[in-house]
């Protein structure tokens, strides 16, 4: 199954081209132009990895990240940032973001990050799965 990726950035053109290129690399991509829109989409379609711009009008990157992590803690987030807001990206890492990249970035780097983020998410889910099985087994007295 293709990893589900959500791109959140207020620059519509950026979202458009990045989506096309990521889709071309076998990723299932959705675009959002604000933090609020991203949360709406995620409410209906949970995502594996979110690529999140830090500086946005309205709900900014860090606030959106906080919200995502509280609603869907397993979803991994990669922050996108400019020079001036590296500190915000670091704040984001503290809040549980997987990694960050400076704009403009190499698409291949971004894809690598998305894939390893997805791998981590999968691993986490696997471990949770294992734990559940173990728990069930224990309970049934095996």
């Amino acid at each position: 199954m293709k990893p589900k990726v959500l791109i959140v950035d207020d620059e519509e053109k950026f979202v458009e081209y990045l989506r096309k290129r990521l889709e071309n690399r076998d990723l299932a991509v959705t675009g959002a132009h604000s933090g609020e829109q991203a949360l709406e989409i995620m409410a209906e379609h949970p995502q594996d990895v979110v690529v999140l711009d830090v500086l946005m009008p309205g709900m900014d990157g860090v606030a959106t990240l906080r919200e995502i992590k509280s609603r869907q803690p397993l979803t991994e987030v990669v922050m996108l940032t400019g020079h001036a807001s590296v500190e915000s990206a670091i704040d984001g890492m503290k809040l549980g973001a997987y990694d960050y990249l400076m704009k403009p970035c190499e698409t291949d780097d971004l894809v690598d990050k998305i894939r390893s983020a997805h791998a981590r998410k999968a691993e986490q889910e696997e471990r949770i799965q294992q734990a559940r099985i173990k728990e069930l087994a224990t309970r049934r007295g095996f």
Binding site: E11, K13, F14, N24, L55, G82, H83, P104
Partner: protein, 573 residues
């Protein structure tokens, strides 16, 4: 923390002028010298006064003693002779004395006494000289009309004024009255006044001391040594009858003291005069020494004070010049920091179009690399669209860089006709994007057709940037808000108002708002120089910068810039 954005501080006033320092110097010198020297003449003066009074008292006492002493001696001299005659008169009867040869033998006896009796005679009650012994032929003379005779009858005795006799020797006449058998007669004697002269003369002290006796008509009974010592002042006769009076009068630089006392039942006045300059000489020399010491002290103290003050003011000047340079440097640093900050902002803004270009170009590459079977209809069209997007983003970048260039180029200071609205518009445009990303709206309320004013565009830019940056920082803490920039034409100048609806300035820090190095920003975030430098710049431009705190919250900064600009050409950085 409220209104954290506000960088407070007052840039130093422009350095003090040379006039300020010389005035300061003069003030310090005058005050110090006065304070140091005023007590000296006061102390010296009171000592001199005290000493003078003391010496004067001693001189007066001494002179008055001398005069009293002479008076007693003279009175005794007169009394002795009067008593002698009276004893003679009462120990003889007229007939026994009138016997021939009797008076001559008494005359001889009297001369042996060495009492200065020159002659002796008897006058009867009708004034006739009935008996005489002496060198002159006075027998038969009638004195009944004479004043002395009348006085003798009346008072019982008489002492005459002195007179020069035939041999030009001073004499006086002493007469006593004898009552006998219902009638009377008078015993009269002429006395050589040499003893009297001697008694008076012994009161003449020193080289210029003098003593003389006058009667109430200023006739000399005993003449003075020096005629110029006599002052014919009627008030001299006002001296009290019973006591000795001493007066002081200064002739040239001499201190003259004069004692007067009455003699001979108030008929004669003894005047004793003394030059007491010598007694006062030590005082005079003490005064001279004190004056010298005072002048010497004045010179030393003045020189020291002048030297120290010069040194002090010089150091102050150097120090202030150093401070001035330091502030210049700080201002320059802050200026560069703000420029760097805005450059970073611009770089960030450029990143967005660059990212779009990168993705778009990447996509074109991917489209071209796509294997034939995957290619879709209208792929060429898509590539064209991509290229147009790239071009658009490139122009977007160009716009941003041009804005920055235009901004930086104006960082050249000079006074010129300045459009305040234009400068503000540029600054706002510069900050607008960054602000809107943070949910901050910047509203412009510009006065139409605002006249140009003489000012420095680049410095105004720095001030406006600083104020707006403060406002944005404050609103960012709050999570967004509104900034209003207003211009008005008032009092021949431009009034710029930058107001925000942020948290405002807490009352506790308002006093220090414009102090240098005062900041409420976290450590490392603010230098505390922003408002201080703004204040300095606006002051140098001849305007005013102040803050207002509306009750409904927020902060309002106002700048008034006069149309004419700074009063004189100031060296701009």
């Amino acid at each position: 923390m409220a209104r954290t954005a506000v960088e407070k501080g007052v840039l130093r006033e422009p350095s003090h002028t040379q006039g300020y320092y010389s005035a300061l110097k003069q003030k310090i010198i005058v005050i110090t010298v006065l304070v140091a020297l005023i007590p000296v003449p006061l102390v010296a003066g009171s000592f001199v006064k005290y000493y003078q009074t003391y010496i004067r008292g001693a001189v007066i006492r001494e002179l008055s003693n001398l005069a009293n002493n002479r008076k007693e001696a003279i009175e005794l001299f007169l009394q002795e002779r009067t008593m002698l005659l009276r004893t003679l008169a009462y120990s003889h009867s007229l007939p026994s004395l009138a016997e021939p040869g009797r008076l001559a033998s008494i005359h001889e006896l009297l001369q042996h006494q060495n009492a200065g009796f020159v002659d002796v005679g008897i006058i009867d009650s009708r004034g006739r000289h009935i008996a005489y012994a002496g060198p002159y032929d006075l027998l038969g003379k009638n004195y009944s009309g004479s004043k002395w005779f009348q006085e003798t009858i009346q008072n019982g005795f008489h002492v005459s004024d002195t007179f020069l006799g035939f041999r030009n020797v001073p004499h006086m006449v002493i007469a006593v009255k004898r009552e006998e058998g219902g009638s009377f007669w008078v015993l009269r004697a002429t006395v050589d006044a040499a003893n009297f002269y001697q008694l008076v003369g012994s009161a003449r002290t020193g080289a210029s001391g003098d003593a003389f006796v006058i009667n109430r008509h200023f006739d000399f009974q005993v003449p003075p040594r020096f005629m110029e010592h006599v002052r014919k002042e009627p008030r001299l006769l006002d001296a009290p009858l019973t006591a000795t009076a001493v007066t002081q009068y200064d002739v040239a630089d001499k201190k003259i003291f004069q004692a007067v006392t009455w003699l001979n039942n108030g008929r004669w006045l003894l005047v004793v005069r003394e030059d007491s300059s010598a007694e006062f000489f030590s005082l005079e020399s003490a005064k001279r020494i004190a004056t010298l010491v005072f002048i010497f002290g004045l010179l030393i103290i003045s020189a020291t004070v002048v030297l120290i003050t010069n040194k002090l003011v010089q150091r102050l000047e150097i120090h202030e010049a150093g401070t001035e340079i330091l502030h210049e440097q700080l201002a320059q640093t802050t200026r560069l920091a703000s420029l760097g900050k805005f450059a970073a902002g611009v770089a960030h803004e450029i990143n967005n179009p660059l990212a779009i270009i990168a993705e778009s170009a990447g996509w074109v590459g991917e489209l071209l690399d796509m294997p034939e079977e995957k290619k879709k209809e209208g792929q060429e069209e898509e590539i064209k669209t991509c290229l147009i997007d790239i071009k658009n983003q490139v122009f977007r970048c160009k716009e941003i860089t041009q804005r920055l260039l235009g901004f930086a180029r104006k960082y050249e200071s000079k006074l010129a006709a300045t459009d305040v609205n234009g400068v503000l518009a540029e600054v706002i445009e510069f900050l607008y994007k960054g602000a809107s990303v943070r949910n901050i709206n910047i509203h412009s309320d510009f006065y139409d057709n605002l006249p140009l004013i003489t000012s420095d565009m680049s410095q105004l830019q720095q001030v406006f940037l600083n104020l707006l940056d403060n406002a944005l920082y404050a609103l960012n803490q709050k999570g967004g808000g509104n900034v209003t920039v207003r211009t008005r034409w008032e009092d021949e100048g431009v009034l710029v108002t930058v107001s925000d609806d942020g948290p405002g300035v807490p009352a506790a820090v308002r006093d220090r708002l414009f102090d240098p190095f005062f900041t409420t920003k976290p450590v490392g975030k603010g230098t505390g120089l922003g408002l201080s430098i703004c204040y300095g710049i606006i002051t140098k431009l001849g305007g005013r910068l102040w803050a207002e705190y509306p009750p409904e919250g927020g902060a309002v900064f106002k700048i008034y810039l006069p149309e004419a600009g700074p009063e004189k050409e100031v060296a701009t950085r």
